[in-house]
Symmetry: C2
Subunit: 146 residues, 2 copies
DNA sequence: ATTAAACCTAGTAAATTGATAGGAATATAG
DNA sequence: CTATATTCCTATCAATTTACTAGGTTTAAT
């Protein structure tokens, strides 16, 4: 029941792109430096975000990545589901077909259902914009101290 | 973000012991048959429950396992934490020491904290007694149809 | 003494995780 | 048109976890 580093990094990458958005394309090595993630690993993760259309890219010199839409268009849940796969805590609840044949007499199923709903509620209740705003607010408050 | 079969089986074993409690010790092969879990795998899982004091055992002929306390004394969360380890969705939140040095400037941390709380709330809100009752109620309602 | 059970330890195939590595394709700058 | 900066693609890898299977040891009742 852990979120993998792939999922965590993906969220951080999206927030990073939102916070450091200048209109230009951000390069992998810049994001990697800011987020302290290996360039090569980050490359793989951002490629998934790219294929899903969450970010857009251009290749070659001056190329890079930027968010495809407004940060408020992405929930944490969307990003986790993309990079982690389903957030459903048990396979029995996935898809429209109930895999296991104990499902109709399985008391525990209802607990997993509640759990899945609780998880979705949290991760779909927070957007990349929310997280980016919070970071910008903290950065501004730090500026005041200088 | 899946609950492993070890955790799911552990919960089912506890519910099974609650539902089929006759005062006698239940044998691994009986539980295995009822729950459709391999005897050997079940043995390993119930041994964890035993060492934690959730069930008690006697060896030798007529031996077996029974719940150590009333089914209402066990939450699903207790059993999952035992068999799965912490239900914390990220390592950063575990223990009293913050592992990673980004923690104090990490916006995403708050999401994971909310997520952890939501998960705990669900799994600690359901007891083995709740699940056992539900199963007994269904069994009784089935009896009426015969 | 036999037998029925829990107990203990080791092994194992498959999948997943968290990367690293190297090169191919492509766009810009000079 | 060439050099360079960048994304893009694929392969590999070590470590860990998962979900078991297997086989023997100990203990208690009959």
């Amino acid at each position: 029941m852990k979120i993998s580093s792939r999922g965590r990094y993906a969220v951080r990458i999206m927030v990073d792109l939102a916070v450091n958005n200048t209109g230009e394309y951000a390069k992998v090595n810049q994001i990697a430096r800011r987020q302290d993630i290996s360039e090569k690993y980050l490359e793989q993760i951002i490629s998934v975000l790219n294929k899903a259309g969450f970010v857009k890219s251009t290749r070659g010199a001056q190329g890079g990545y930027k968010l495809a839409k407004d940060p408020s268009a992405y929930t944490v849940g969307m990003i986790l589901r993309l990079t982690e796969g389903s957030l459903c805590p048990v396979a029995c609840l996935e898809g429209d077909v109930n895999e296991c044949d104990r499902c109709d007499t399985c008391e525990t199923l209802d607990v997993w259902k509640q759990l899945g709903e609780a998880i979705n509620k949290v991760v779909d209740g927070v957007t990349i914009a929310d997280l980016a705003e919070k970071q910008l607010a903290r950065q501004n408050s730090m500026d005041c101290l200088i």
